[in-house]
């Protein structure tokens, strides 16, 4: 039995079950039990709650922090590993793109004390900009990836990953997916391991990646790949279940539970890891069955590896390469394979569901910003955050959105293209600005781009549920700390025109934006008001609509505020408007917009 499982089961006697834990909470527990001393992350759905849960464990046990971005988080963890303590970083799948530069080289260096990165993929794109498969990244970086399939494994595998990391001198990725991260189940927990710090390894030929050293390290990485594959092949973390031998299913992670749900008769090889893959392990299994089917969410990573080994397999010819798996999708795959009978879907209701897209909250400070932008009719390079919701009607005032921090440089490119007649504006949230907006703002100043940057400062990372960042003056554990002064920072970068406006002052907002776009060069407008949900819920007295004065012009409805709805009154064939007092938070923006002054406290 491997160390991790042994420890967990010994302590099971002490405290058999805990929870229910979400997958993310189970991972956090694993991090704590593994004796980690330094943990860092940048928030991102579905990974965010991992670091929030880690921070619930005593500060005396481990340092936990939000970093400004994923690369910084990984570099902090790498530093801690160099310094001899177990280290941990968490991020969402696209966060690994940001951290990739550090990961690719650190893979050559290897660890001193164990280093594990949890990366949460988002098959089905519940809350992301793409659905890239981290397993490909793992094989690209030649870093082992471990794939738990339920809450218990999330805890056990995370702990095991640290052992693997130290034994083979490699960073290890634990891959979770949205479904695992956000499913609650009971979990057996253990005690925290007492891991003694290691001495700093004063070995520049291993730790300093100059070309001559890197050339020496690369062959070692390849040797390591083979050794880890061999280790994983004999690991009890894999499961071999021989049932009906006419079909053998190779699967991993969440796909495994769907296979068990819909096709329990099949023989199954459940892999603990898609990379590196041991030929011995898969051949042993494939030799025992007549037909081999790989069931894996997203990319055909294992399928292709098997094909390279010359094993006859089916996979993506039966199962989709896009979207999230579910019992239905996996069942359909086996139906395609002729192994399960078609299920007659019995639901007898055939109406189309009502559209209910997510919207900005009532009183959201972003609303007025995009109302003003729409009126300005500019070319808007957007970015990622709650404010991306302004891309749809009625605010509909964002032209592009690529990845975090893209907006400002996208705007520079648009300006330099020389084709746009409209004023060019980049909108970016405070957390995103600190994550990756500062270098492009320097770029804009340096290259004298004629753009306006609209910094939407709602004093929090709202989209992911309200995390602190260096502009909030609070740490992950809620302690007071230094706070970035945006105006000073922006001026220091060489921006000459910078103005702060109150997000709840519609007229100043219009005016300020107008002046900003008139300015030749880089101008920055900062809208300033806290998010109404986080860190605390803001609720003021609700506004009311005077039904005798409302002319049903729908001007206020252009805000898309969810507190505004149609009343039972009509004027000239259109609905008058009323305000739901429960959800109105009293921002007054609709009252400022109303041309007949029908809205008041």
């Amino acid at each position: 039995m491997n160390e991790a499982v042994k420890v967990a089961s010994q302590d099971a006697a002490l405290k058999p079950v805990a929870g229910p834990f979400t997958g993310n909470e189970a991972i956090a527990r694993g991090v704590w039990e593994a004796g980690v001393k330094v943990a860092a992350a940048y928030p991102g759905t579905p990974s965010t709650e991992i670091m929030e849960s880690v921070s619930k464990y005593p500060a005396a046990d481990l340092h936990a922090q939000w970093s400004t971005n994923e690369k910084t988080a990984l570099d902090v963890a790498i530093g801690a590993s160099f310094a001899g303590v177990r280290a941990f970083a968490a991020m969402k799948h696209v966060g690994l793109n940001v951290a990739a530069d550090a990961l690719m080289s650190f893979s050559y260096i290897g660890v001193n004390a164990g280093l594990v990165i949890v990366v949460c993929d988002d098959p089905g794109i519940h809350s992301s900009q793409n659905e890239q498969d981290t397993r490909i990244f793992a094989s690209f970086a030649q870093v082992p990836v471990i794939e738990p399939s339920d809450g218990q494994e999330a805890l056990d595998f995370t702990k095991y990953a640290f052992e693997l990391s130290e034994k083979f001198d490699t960073p290890v990725i634990v891959r979770a997916t949205t479904r695992l991260s956000h499913t609650r189940s009971e979990v057996k927990v253990g005690a925290r391991q007492d891991i003694q710090p290691r001495a700093f390894n004063e070995n520049p030929s291993k730790n300093v990646m100059i070309p001559s050293n890197a050339r020496n390290q690369h062959p070692k990485v390849l040797e390591r790949e083979a050794l880890v594959a061999e280790e994983l092949a004999s690991s009890p973390l894999n499961k071999v279940e021989i049932n009906d031998t006419s079909v053998g299913v190779i699967t991993m992670g969440l796909s495994y539970v769907y296979v068990k749900e819909v096709y329990p008769e099949a023989s199954v090889l459940k892999l603990a890891s898609s990379y590196p893959l041991s030929e011995r392990l898969v051949r042993d299994f494939c030799d025992q069955v007549d037909r081999v089917i790989v069931v894996e969410e997203l990319e055909p990573v294992v399928e292709n590896a098997l094909k390279v080994m010359g094993i006859r397999v089916e996979g993506k010819s039966l199962f989709p390469r896009v979207g999230e798996f579910s019992p239905e999708v996996v069942r359909d795959g086996f139906v395609n394979a002729g192994l399960l009978p078609e299920k007659i879907r019995k639901g007898n209701f055939d109406f189309a569901p009502m559209v209910r897209p997510p919207v900005l909250c009532s009183g959201c400070p972003h609303t007025s910003c995009f109302m003003a932008l729409r009126a300005l009719d500019g070319r808007v390079a957007g970015d990622i955050g709650c404010y991306t919701l302004s891309v749809v009607e009625p605010l509909k005032s964002m032209d592009t959105c690529v990845s975090m921090g893209s907006s400002i440089a996208n705007a520079v490119g648009m300006a330099k293209a020389g084709t746009q007649t409209k004023p060019i504006i980049a909108t970016i949230g405070d957390s995103t600005f600190l994550h990756s907006g500062i270098p492009p703002l320097i770029d804009a100043v340096y290259n004298q781009a004629n753009i306006t940057v609209f910094l939407l400062d709602n004093h929090i990372t709202a989209m992911t549920g309200g995390q602190d960042h260096p502009g909030t003056g609070k740490t992950l554990r809620g302690e007071e700390t230094a706070r970035v002064d945006f105006v000073k920072l922006i001026k220091a970068l060489g921006v000459e025109w910078c103005e702060t406006v109150d997000s709840y002052d519609m007229a100043s907002m219009y005016q300020s934006l107008r002046e900003a776009v008139e300015f030749k060069g880089v101008s920055v407008v900062i809208s300033d008001r806290p998010c109404v949900l986080d860190p605390q819920k803001i609720k003021g007295d609700p506004f009311k609509v005077d039904q005798n004065k409302c002319v049903a012009c729908q001007s206020c409805m252009n805000l898309g505020c969810p507190a505004l709805t149609w009343s039972s009154g009509w004027h000239e064939g259109r609905h008058k408007v009323e305000i739901n007092p429960e959800s109105c938070m009293g921002c007054s923006i609709c009252a400022q917009i109303c041309p007949t002054d029908s809205i008041a406290l």
Binding site: R179, P327, V551, S555, P595
Partner: protein, 296 residues
């Protein structure tokens, strides 16, 4: 009662962000765990708290594999909001499933977008009567009003739990014990009353529809009469101040090259008169002529 089968029991809980879907699922999951079942409860947050739909799958039994309920296999669909109930209705097992929904409507801003005369809100048009006639077992409860009568809107979820308790096998005392642990101390009494009210309501028989839960308000027939809208701009009076362009709720005006206001696509103008009222130079005139008169 949910029939005993081999597999796990499946309860799908749905609603709108901020309504407490996750809380309701946690109560149920805790109850199942107390009874020694394996439980998996799965949800997707993300966009949820910004007013989008939220759903949570609760599965319990001696062994549970998939964290999500296969379509058509929910033993109970518990909805905190009417349109959300309809969105998920096909997840319910049509032969054995039970439908429990609050009839309250949370109308999203998206549903109030139509600008034509007499347009209805784009909210799900299906009424509780229609749905009750088609489901095997169903409860369309005005839980929100019941909770309001008890003095706390937030207890609506507990009313629904009371109704749910009639379909699952757990003893009432066990439900109450778990609920007590989840609600703030000062609201325990109201929640106990809310649970009892929901349970009583469901026990009185299914498929009833309360008066308060019937249809949305319809447009006055007279108001639906169509008009022909005409917008005229006196070009010589327009000084290109841009006020109408900025203030038009339909965003259908613009300044042309001579900086004079124009309406490129007359079909977008709803005749709301905003520009007419706001133009400082009286350069815009709106007329709304009923179709019948115009024909004369």
């Amino acid at each position: 009662m949910v029939e005993k089968r081999n597999g796990p029991t499946n309860v799908l809980i749905v609603g709108v962000g901020g309504q407490g879907v996750i809380m309701v699922s946690k109560v149920l999951a805790q109850l199942c765990q107390n009874h020694g079942y394996e439980v998996k409860q799965s949800e997707v947050h993300g966009m949820a708290k910004r007013g989008g739909g939220v759903f949570s799958h609760v599965r319990y039994g001696s062994a549970v594999w998939s964290p999500t309920i296969p379509e058509g296999e929910a033993d109970v669909l518990l909805a905190l909001e009417w349109a959300e109930a309809l969105r998920w209705i096909n997840f319910m097992n049509p032969d054995t499933g039970t439908f429990i929904a609050d009839t309250q409507r949370i109308v999203p801003p998206f549903a109030c977008r139509a600008r034509g005369r007499g347009e209805e809100a784009g909210y799900a048009p299906q009424t509780p009567e229609e749905i009750m006639a088609q489901v095997r077992a169903g409860y369309a409860i005005d839980a929100t009003s019941m909770a309001e009568d008890l003095g706390n809107l937030k207890a609506a979820n507990t009313v629904l739990l009371g109704a749910l308790s009639t379909t699952l096998e757990f003893p009432v005392e066990d439900w109450l014990e778990v609920i007590r642990g989840f609600v703030p101390p000062h609201s325990i009494d109201i929640n106990m009353a809310a649970f009892a009210a929901g349970r009583e309501w469901a026990q009185a028989g299914d498929k009833r529809v309360e008066e308060s839960a019937k249809g949305l308000h319809k447009a006055d027939v007279e108001l639906q009469q169509q008009v022909i809208t005409k917008l005229e701009i006196t070009e010589e009076w327009c000084k290109g101040c841009d006020i109408c362009v900025k203030m038009c709720p339909e965003r259908c005006l613009r300044l042309n090259e001579q900086l004079v206001a124009e309406l490129p696509d007359p079909s977008k103008c709803t005749g709301c008169r905003m520009c007419e009222w706001l133009c400082p130079d009286f350069a815009i005139k709106i007329t709304n002529t009923p179709v019948l008169e115009a024909a004369e």
